[in-house]
Amino acid sequence: MSKRIIIDPVTRIEGHAKISVYLDDAGNVTDAEFHVVEFRGFEKFCEGRSYSEMPGITPRICGICPVSHLLASAKAGDAIMAVKIPPAADKLRRLMNLGQIVQSHALSFFHLSAPDFLLGWDSPAEKRNVFGLIASNTDLARAGIRLRQFGQEVIEVLGGKKIHPAWAVPGGVRSALSQEGAARIRAWLPEAHATTRVALDLFKGVLSTHEREAQLYGNFPSLYMGLVAPDGTWEHHGGKLRFTDSSGSIIADQIDPADYRTVIGECVQESSYLKSPYYLPLGKDDGVYRVGPLARLNLCARMGVPLADEELKVFRTHGHGSVTSSFLYHYARLVEILASLEYIERALDDPDLFSTDLRADAGINSLRGVGASEAPRGTLFHDYTVDRDGKLQKVNLIVATGQNNLAMNRTVAQIARHFLKGTEITEPMLNRIEHGIRCYDPCLSCSTHAAGRMALHLRLVAPGGDVVGEAVRD
C-alpha cells in the first residue's frame, strides 16, 4: 500500500509550507511535493488598480525582498509608458538591488542556514537557529547580522526606509543618493568585505566536511535560467535571459524578458498555491530549471569584478560544466555578496548617482509591460496588461521560488531516498529534508518567521486518506 509522509510546517524559510513524501508499497520514495499552503491573491486583487500604484503595492508581497518587487514593478511601468528612464535612475535602481542582494543573502546564510551546518544537522532543534549561533559563535553571528544591516543601510540611504520603500516609480526613481549617504555606505564597505571573506573561508571548510550533503542535496541535472549582460557577464537588473543545461551549454540566449512566454510555461499543482514554471520547449518533465545564485553563477561568463571572478573560478571546480548541487547555493550566495560589494564600491564613484534628472514622464503608450529583475532568489517577472487609462486588466507575477518549485520537489525526493528507511520517520531525515528546501532559500511571502524550536507535524497517509502513522514535534 502506498503511503505519503507529510512534514508540516517547514520552518526557517520565509513563510510556511509543508512537504509530502510519497512511498510505494515497498516503502521506497517515489516522489515528493513541496506545497505552499498560503494564498496571497495579488495577481487578482490588483486588477482594476492603476499601474503606477504597483511599485507601492507589490513590495508588500514580502518583507524580505520588497526591493525586488519594487524594481520589477517600476520596470513594468517603464514599459507601459514606453520610456527610457534617465541613466541616473537606472544606476540608482541597480545600487538598491545590490543592497537587496547583500541583505537577503546574508539573512539566508547566517540567520537561516548556517545553524544547520555549523551547529550540526542533528543538534537539538531548540538550539539550531540564529540564537543558538549567537550563543556558540558570537562574533560570526554578530558579523552576519551586521552584513545584513549593511545591505539594509544601502536600501535605506536611497529609499528612506529599509523595508517597503516606495522609491522606484514608473519612469525612474523619486530621489538620488546624498553625499552623506554615499559616505555612510563607503565607510561600512571594508567591514562588509571582511565578513564576506570570513564566510567564504568558513563555507569552504564546511564543503570539505560535508561532501555527502553536497552529493545528496539536490544534486541532479537541470536547466538554469537568469539574466546576463550582452557579453555574458553576471547581471542582476538589466540584460537578457539565458538558459544553460547541466553541461554548461547555452541552449537559449539573449531572450528579451518581455518575451518570457516563448520560453517559460506555467503549470499548477492541485495541492499547492505555488505555480510551477518550466522551460517551454522541453515540456514540464524535462524543462525543470533552477534560478537564483546557483543558476546565475552557472550561466554567466564572468562576474565582472576581480575578487568575485577569482571566487567564481573556485566555485566552478565543484562541478563539471555546471555546478549541479543545490547545497552549493550557499556558496553562490557568498560569491554574489562579494560581487555586490565590489559593484557597490564601483558605483559610489559615479557622479550620476547624485543627479537630479531622475524621472521620465509619459502617458500610456503600451498596453502591456513586462519588468524583469534578478531578485536574490532568482529572476522575477512582473507582467501587466492595462487599458488606455492605465487601469490594470491582467497581472502575472512569476516569482523565483515558483521557478525553483519543481527542482525543490526533486531535491526533497533525492534526500528522502537516501535517509528514509522503511516508514520510520527519524529526526535526522526530517532535518535534512528541511535543509534541502532551505538551500533554495524559498520565500513564501509570509510575515511569520519561526525562531526557536522547530514545530513539525508528520503524517503517513494511505491512498484512501487514512492516517496510518503520525509524528508530532512542537
Partner: protein
C-alpha cells in the same frame, strides 16, 4: 449710518472669548488656538457639517452640535474635549475606515492624509466594526487626475471647491447613504466631462488619497491647501483688481 459689529462673548473650554455674531464655534475656537478635529471643513468654502468630527457640547443643549455650522451666541458655554466627545469622534473615524477600503500603507496620501492623521491623533489603534470591503472602482479616464472611490469619505470638499471656487460645477454627488458617491457631471467618466476645466482644485481639497495626480505612488500625494485659501482671499478682497 454705520453699523457697529455685534460682538458676542462666550466660554470655550472654560476660557472667556469674544466673537463676531456671524462666526461659528469652529472659527472662534481656531482663532483662540483651541483644537477641534475636522474633515469636511475647508477654508474658503461653505461648511456643511457632514463629517461629524467637530461635534462639541453646548451647555443647555442635550444634542452634540457640529462646531463648523453652529453660530455663536451671547453667553454660550462650549466644551470641545470630553470623554463623551472623544468616544464619538473615535467611533466616527472607525466607521469611516470600515465603510470603504482605506489601506494606508499603499495609499498615495500615506503620511499626508487628514483621515490618517486624525485617526492617529484620536488614538484609533484598531477598528471595532466589521469592514464592509465594498467593491468601488477607480476613474482614471482624466488625462492627469484620478479618483479612487475606495478612499473617498464623502466630505464633498471637492464638490464645493468645484462649484464655489472654480465655478465649474463638474463634481457632484449621487446615491444615498453608504452607496453615495462623487460623480462627474451626470455620472460620466471624468475624462468625458465637458465642464471640467482641469484646474486641479479638487485634488488640492481632498483630505485623503481619493483624488490624486495620475502617476503618483505610495505617499507621494502631498497637497498645498493654502493655495485654495489664497485664491478665495484674493477674490473676496479684490486683490486682483487693478
Amino acid at each position: 449710518m454705520s453699523t457697529a459689529v455685534d460682538v458676542k462673548t462666550l466660554i470655550i473650554d472654560g476660557m472667556d472669548v469674544s466673537a463676531r455674531q456671524d462666526q461659528t464655534v469652529l472659527d472662534v475656537a481656531r482663532e483662540n488656538n483651541i483644537f477641534i478635529p475636522t474633515l469636511c471643513h475647508l477654508e474658503g468654502v461653505a461648511d456643511i457639517g457632514a463629517c461629524r468630527l467637530c461635534l462639541v457640547e453646548v451647555k443647555g443643549t442635550p444634542k452634540l452640535l457640529s462646531a463648523c455650522t453652529t453660530k455663536v451666541y451671547e453667553g454660550m458655554e462650549v466644551t470641545t474635549d470630553s470623554e463623551r466627545l472623544r468616544k464619538y469622534r473615535r467611533m466616527t473615524l472607525e466607521l469611516l475606515f470600515a465603510e470603504r477600503n482605506h489601506v494606508c500603507a499603499v495609499c498615495v496620501a500615506n503620511g499626508h492624509c487628514e483621515l490618517q492623521t486624525l485617526a492617529y491623533g484620536q488614538g484609533m489603534d484598531h477598528v471595532r466594526y466589521d469592514y464592509c470591503f465594498p467593491k468601488w472602482g477607480m476613474d482614471l479616464t482624466h488625462p492627469f487626475m484620478g479618483m479612487d472611490h475606495n478612499r473617498c469619505i464623502l466630505c464633498t470638499r471637492c464638490v464645493r471647491v468645484c462649484w464655489y471656487i472654480e465655478g465649474a460645477g463638474t463634481k457632484n454627488t449621487s446615491g444615498r447613504g453608504g452607496g453615495s458617491m462623487i460623480i462627474t457631471d451626470l455620472n460620466q467618466p471624468w475624462g468625458d466631462s465637458e465642464t471640467c476645466t482641469s484646474c486641479g482644485k479638487c485634488l488640492m481639497s481632498c483630505p485623503t488619497g481619493a483624488l490624486f495626480k495620475k502617476g503618483s505612488t505610495a505617499g507621494e500625494s502631498d497637497r498645498d491647501r493654502s493655495m485654495l485659501e489664497f485664491i478665495v482671499n484674493a477674490r473676496e478682497k479684490k486683490q486682483w483688481t487693478v
